[in-house]
Structures are given as structure tokens and as C-alpha cells.
Point group: C3
Chain length 344, copies 3
């Protein structure tokens, strides 16, 4: 792709184009990270990026940069073409869409797919090999349902969704529009509902369903359980990484991001814009406010107010946790000092 | 369903029926939680339930209640029919069985299923599309084996089991009766057995098998590994949630309950009635006594005696952990105080 | 198998044969652990093994032992045949290869498998039922690709690999030789790449790929993500247990071993010979040196030097963590003592 064409794409994008500097309209073959870029490739550098020094060694022919005179000067000296924008990562991401060789299967229903009675599939859908769809299930248009996925009865799927191979979507699930469900993820499996009775466990039927609102994305090998009654709900625009457990009856707000191996126990309520880092756990029925950020491995055992940044287990304010953790490793010294004082 | 019919069901159940109060034999359309119930629906309230105040606002037409004069009075004033029992959640659970629109496929073996030589399938089984069953495998009666599940050679499956879609059951697995294996779970995969030698890892063949005793239930995306020799065993009535790892050679007693993302390393021995909360880890070869309760994220690194309640990592008695955790967040103050005393 | 034949196998193996003691050339029917071995079976005992006392009660007819006069005497008295080697577990492991009834399907491509245009499959491969292989994918010789596995376009698979049922291998994945991918594992799924913008998440296309070098083994239900650009790489001989998350762009060295439920966030760099115990987490972009050992549940938030043994969260040297943890449970006492001193 010619550099001038790339600049045009970026101007039309959302990254906040400022200007560009180049001698020749070179042909850019691909995009790469600043460390691994080779000649004829384009890369990018964010403000505050830990790879800043790599500007002196990168082999990239072009770079998308934030507005920094010093770095621009280096690029000029090293003969690297520059495109200056407010948000370089966004510009780079937009370019990747163009460079990516998309692997999109052709529309149509594979002959090995099975579709139950009274189920509808909209226009321009791909239904891959060995896909099984139950009865009374409605699937909108422009959906990609990949090989080996099993969809039960009474499921509603809107438009423009992608469900990757070997997923299972249980009855009473509603997937709105523009969602992605990655491979081997299970949506709508029965919640873990058992009542102790006489030393045994009595099973509670899980008659509810799961709702994935618009633009929800779920990673691979995740579990989104359905509750005894009502719905497990994931809000619009929320993104969930791999191996995440969402318990029965959990309600999650919009535009949250949960990293891998997060576990949310049954009945928890998560606000909007919440960020949970890797391996965070949330206890059952806990309420987590809007825009809360929990650092990795945090255990949220009680309600959290809007906007808090929390860490540790039990979760405490992040700043306090950092200070307490710093002292934790000095505990042997502290204990020794205390013994000495005590003797005096 | 008429209220009188519901009362009849509850009288015949295990919840301990006491009495009921209503003016008319209304038609109940469905069951719901107290917060989300609407007119013509039935709900329930447990003793000590945090939703108690919702009795003043619920729109439910009927409620299953424990014996509480005050609450009964409110229901009378608000014209809510009441059924009083000793264990409301059990009564509610029994009702759900009636309200649930069960999605049970018809018996029979799908034409796309493949069954190996010398394998038997009992009466009244459902074997779904694309199910693959190996050789010398015996499957009893009343089993539901859902689409895409793969069962290897030399597997024994008893009666009345449900195996959901896309599971894998490896050779030498025995599943007794009345078990449930949820979607995408793997039973009998090779244990993680490697011996360090000259800086590399030598693989130990895993020739053993897995036994799931009666009424075991396993969640979605779980892994139950087989050992080098002998068996990994899960005891009768034990219930396991999603994304749980059971290492090779682990022995688990009866009627345990493990929450999501629990991991039990190879060779650990777990007693009867043990409860492990979410994300708990158990070290290899550790012995956990009967009726032990471990709170979430607990790391069990050493043997635990019968009946203990433990928390934290390394695991300590729960009460001690609560007190130590409360002081953990005061460590900066403690350290400051100690410095002040030291100066004096 | 006759005892003399077993001795011959061990002599030809890598365990360091020393000598053997027996009266008769008995027939050994199988191998078992020292606790569960019955008559006519062979077992083993490692130095420092916690099961040492079982030598007095085992029913095994033969045992592979390290060189210990006392134990040899007991075996003689109890009429147990002994084979003495330097590394008993290795000898035992080698025997298991002989005792194991291997379940290897016959070569050939199942009629229900689908293979895309311009894809090649080498000699002596097994391609199981319902396997789906995309376009431009190259598969070498002696590969076992089990039922229900889905392989996308542009994948390269070398020789002698085993991919168990219901895996998904995405585009641009390279699997070299002698690898094992266990059931329901996903290799090459899209990395979790989102940029915050105006309160929403902008998706970054993940155009990269995954490389599994020679002799890599991956457990069940794992996720190995591909990055935006470049590759996620797992080094030769590295072994990974179940339910492990490897984020986009992670580079892992050779001969590492990661236990179950480990999570490695995007861009982390792991050295050679690194051992991560169960449920360990590694933050994004962290560099972990060669031969680092992290104990279970450790949270690695910052770079770690070669050879360190670390524990806890945030990770600190293991010895310090053990001492600090021992004091953690005495914090209530310490705080009390401090209050008393303060009053004086």
C-alpha cells in the first residue's frame, strides 16, 4: 500500500491526524511492532511507550507517531517517514484492518449442518460444517456460525454476529447484534445451583436464560451460566477475555473489560465501564460500582463504590494495598524490632 | 398452574409444608425472584435473606415463605397469597421442575453419530449428531449424549447420565449412574506427568483412568485428568462447577461442592462433604479432611484436619485470617508507630 | 511380562541400572503405585518419597528402587523382587510404555472429514471424523488429528503431532514436530486487543500468528492467543498443563513447565527452563528470566532475574515470603503487643 494511501486512511479515521513527513511515496508491505519491523513496513509508537528507545534501531520505513519534536528529528535523520497523529495506536489499528488478509468463509449453509424445525436463518449467513441448530431458534442476517458449534432450541441471535467453532449456545439465550463468541465458549449452561439437604446436594432447576447485548465480545473457553429464574445479562460493548466464568444471574453493565481467568460468582452486579484484570474474583451477590478498576488477582468480597481502584484479597484501595504489600515483605524485620523493644 | 395445585406439589415435596393463606385459587403463570417477579408469578423468601425488604414492593401474586408473623402480615395487607414452609428455597426449586419447559431430545441415535465395533448402547438413549463413540465402550440406558461429544474406547457409562455437547471422554473412564457432564468438559485426558532429565522433560505415560461415581455433576470447560497408574476418583454426589482442574490421581470423597476455577493438583486426597469456594487451589498430594470449608482464593498447601474452615494463602484458620487481614491494611500505620516507639 | 524382560528394558533405558535381586523369573502383569499395587504387579519408590513406609505393606511382587541397603533388606525379607536403578521413576515410566494398551486409531482420513482446497496431508496421518481443515493448510506425516477438531486456513503442521478431539487451530498457526495439543484447546484465537476511546472499546485486528516449536505439549481447555502483529511463540520442549491462558504476543523459552490455570498476559517474555506452579499469573510485558521457579498462586508483576525462586503476590523471594507469611498469621498478636508498648 502506498504511503499516501495510508495517510488518506488515517485522515479518514479516528486517531486525530496532525501531519506527515516523507520524501518519497514508498510502498508499505505490512505493519509490525517497532522491535520486529523490517524494511518497507510501518510501525507505531505511543506516548509513554516503554519502547521509545527503539526509534534509534527500528528497521521500519514508516512510523505513526505522536507529536514529539525530538522523536520526529530522529526519524528525519534515520530517513523514516512519519505520520503524526494524536492517538497512534488507533491509527495503527485502523491500518491493520486494511493489511489483514481476512479469512471470511463464503455465505451459505454447509450440507452437514442440521437445523431444527421452526428455526429461521437470515440472509447472508455462514453456517459451517457440523453446526447443529435446534428448534424455534431465530438467527438474523450476516451471522457467521463456525464449524462444530451447537445451538439449542429457543435461541434468538440478531445480526452481524460471529460465533467461532465448537461453541455451545443453550436454550433461552439471546445474542443481540455485532457480538463475537470465541471458540469452545459455552453460553447459557446450567448455573451451579444446589441446596444442602441432609448432607447431600439438591439440584435447583436452572430455567432462566442469558442475554448478550450489542457488541459484546467473549473470549475462548468461557462459561456464561443461566440462572434458576430470570436472566444473566452482559451489557452493551462489554469485552471479556479467555477462560472467564460468569455465574448464574450475574448482571454486567456496558463497556466493561474483563481479562483472562476472571471469575464472577452467582448474582453479582457489575456496573458500567468496570475493568477487572487477570484472575480477579468477585463473590456472589457483591455489587461493584461504575468505573471500578480491580488489579490482577484481586478478590472482591464486598460491595465497591463507583470509581474505586482496588487490589489484593480481601480487596482494599490500591494505594493502601501497595503500601501494605511493601511492608509485608519487611514483616520479619518488624517482628524482630518489636521483640527488641519489648525486651527493653 | 392453580395455586391449589402448587400447594399440593409442595405438600408432597421435601420442604416441610406448614400452612397456606389465600383468598382465591389464582392461576400462577411462572416463578421468579422476588425482585423481578410480576403479577401472577410466584416467588420465595428464605430466612436471613438479604432481600427481605423487597416484600414491601414485590409484584408477585404468591410467595413461599418461612414462618414469620410479621412478614405474613405484610403479605396479607398487600394481598399476596402465601405458602409457609420450613425451607422455602427447596419448595421453590421443586416448583421450578414443573414450570420448566424441559428441552429433552427424542430417544434414538442420530444418523451422523459413529459407534465403534463391540460397543453397546442401552435402551432409551439419545445419541446426538456427530457424536463419536470408540470401540469396546458400554453405555447403559436412559443416557443423553449430546452433539459433538467424543467418547474413546473402553469407556463404561451406566444409566441416566447426561453428557452435554462437545465433551471428550477418554479411554478407561467409568461414569456410573445419574451423572451430568456439562459442555466442553474433558474427562480422562492425560495427566501432566513429566520427569526433569538433563534440562528437558521426560513424559510419563498416563495409563490409568477416571471414575465418576453416582450423581456426580461436572461443570463446563472442566478437566479431569487420568493418572500414570490407577484412577482419579470423584465420589458419589460431588458437584463441581465450571473451569475446574482435577489433576491426575486425585481422590475426591462424596457430596463435596467445588466452585468455579478451583484447581486440585495431582495426587491430592479430598474427604467427604468438602466445600471449596471459587479459585481455591490445592497442592499436590495434600490431604483435606472431611467437611472442610475453604473460602475463595484459598491456597491449601498442607494437610487440613476434618471440619476446619480455612482461608488465605498459605491457608490458615478462617477466623485468624479475617483478623490478620484486618491488620494487613493497617500495616503502614503499625510500621509508623513502631518507628516512633523505636526513636523514643 | 517376565521380570527378566523388564530388567532388559530398564537396562536399555535412561534410568541408570545398578543391579537386581530375585529368586524366580515371575510374570509381571501390570504396573501400579506402591499403595495400590497387588500381587504380580511391579511398582517403584523414589528417594525422599513420602510413601517410603509403604514398603512394609505393599502387595507388589516387584519394585524398582534406588540404592538403599535398608529398603533392599526389607524387600528381601518380604520376598519382593527388586530392580535397583539411579532414577526409579524414569525406569517405571519406561515400563509403562510397554504395559500401556495404546489406543491409536488406524491411519486414514475419515469420510466425514472436510479438507479445503490447496491443503496437503502427509503420509501415515489419521484425520478423524468431523475434522474440518481449511484452505492452503499443510500437514506433514504421522499426525493424529482427532474427531471434531477444526483447523483454519494457512496453518502449517509438521510431523508426528497429536491433536486431540474438538480443538480449534486458527489461521497463521505453525506447529512444528512432535507436539501434543490436548482436547478442546484453542491455538491462535484472536488476542484481547482493545483501545479505550470515548468510554467504549475499539477493537484492534489481530493479524499475527502462533508458533509451537518442536515437542511442545499443551493441556486441555487452554487458550493460546495470536497478536495484532508478529507471533506468540512457545519454545521447544515446553510443557503446559490444563486451563492455561497464553496472551497475545507472549514469548516463552524452551523446556518450561507451566501447571494448570496459569495465566500469562499479553507481551510477557518468559525465559528457558521456567517453572510456574498452579494458578500463577504473569502481568503483561513482564520479563521472567531463565530457570525462574514461581510457587503456586504467585503473581509476577515485575521483571524477575535468572534463577530466582519467587512466591506470593506481589512476588517476592520465596524464602522471604515464607518468613513473612509465618508472621502474617501472628499479626493480631503483634498489633496487640505494639498497643501495649505504646501505652507504656
Amino acid at each position: 500500500m502506498l504511503l499516501t494511501q495510508i495517510i488518506k486512511t488515517i485522515k479518514n479515521g479516528q486517531s486525530g491526524y496532525i501531519n506527515s513527513h516523507f520524501d518519497n511515496d514508498i510502498d508499505i508491505t505490512n505493519a509490525a511492532s517497532i522491535e520486529f519491523a523490517s524494511k518497507s513496513q510501518i510501525t507505531f509508537l505511543e506516548e509513554n511507550n516503554y519502547l521509545k528507545e527503539k526509534i534509534n534501531t527500528t528497521k521500519a520505513s514508516a512510523i505513526i507517531l505522536f507529536n514529539d519534536k525530538e522523536l520526529l528529528l530522529i526519524c528525519k535523520q534515520r530517513n523514516i517517514s512519519t505520520i503524526v497523529v494524536q492517538k497512534p495506536k488507533i491509527a495503527f489499528s485502523e491500518l491493520l484492518n486494511d493489511f489483514e488478509k481476512k479469512i471470511t468463509p463464503e455465505f451459505g449453509i454447509d450440507t452437514s449442518a442440521k437445523i431444527g424445525s421452526n428455526s429461521n436463518i437470515g440472509d447472508r449467513c455462514y453456517v459451517g460444517p457440523n453446526v447443529i441448530i435446534g428448534k424455534n431458534t431465530s438467527i438474523g442476517k450476516n451471522n457467521f456460525i463456525h464449524a462444530g458449534t451447537v445451538i439449542f432450541d429457543n435461541v434468538e441471535i440478531g445480526d452481524n454476529n460471529v460465533i467461532y467453532p465448537n461453541c455451545v449456545i443453550f436454550q433461552n439465550t439471546k445474542i443481540r447484534d455485532n457480538c463475537v463468541v470465541n471458540s469452545n465458549t459455552v453460553v447459557g449452561s446450567e448455573g451451579f445451583g444446589f441446596i444442602p439437604k441432609d448432607g447431600k446436594w439438591l439440584k435447583v432447576p436452572q430455567t432462566g436464560g442469558v442475554i448478550l447485548n450489542n457488541s459484546v465480545e467473549i473470549g475462548t473457553n468461557c462459561c456464561i451460566d443461566r440462572p434458576a429464574v430470570g436472566h444473566t445479562i452482559i451489557g452493551e460493548g462489554t469485552k471479556i477475555d479467555n477462560l472467564v466464568q460468569i455465574g448464574h444471574g450475574v448482571k454486567i453493565g456496558s463497556n466493561c473489560a474483563f481479562a483472562a481467568q476472571v471469575g464472577i460468582a452467582g448474582g453479582a452486579m457489575i456496573g458500567d465501564g468496570v475493568i477487572l484484570a487477570g484472575q480477579v474474583g468477585v463473590n456472589n451477590r457483591v455489587k461493584v460500582g461504575n468505573k471500578v478498576i480491580a488489579s490482577s488477582k484481586c478478590g472482591i468480597h464486598a460491595d465497591v463504590k463507583d470509581g474505586e481502584i482496588i487490589s489484593g484479597f480481601p480487596a482494599i484501595p490500591n494505594k493502601l494495598w501497595l503500601r501494605s504489600s511493601a511492608i509485608f515483605k519487611k514483616l520479619p524485620d518488624l517482628a524482630k524490632k518489636l521483640r527488641q523493644l519489648d525486651k527493653k
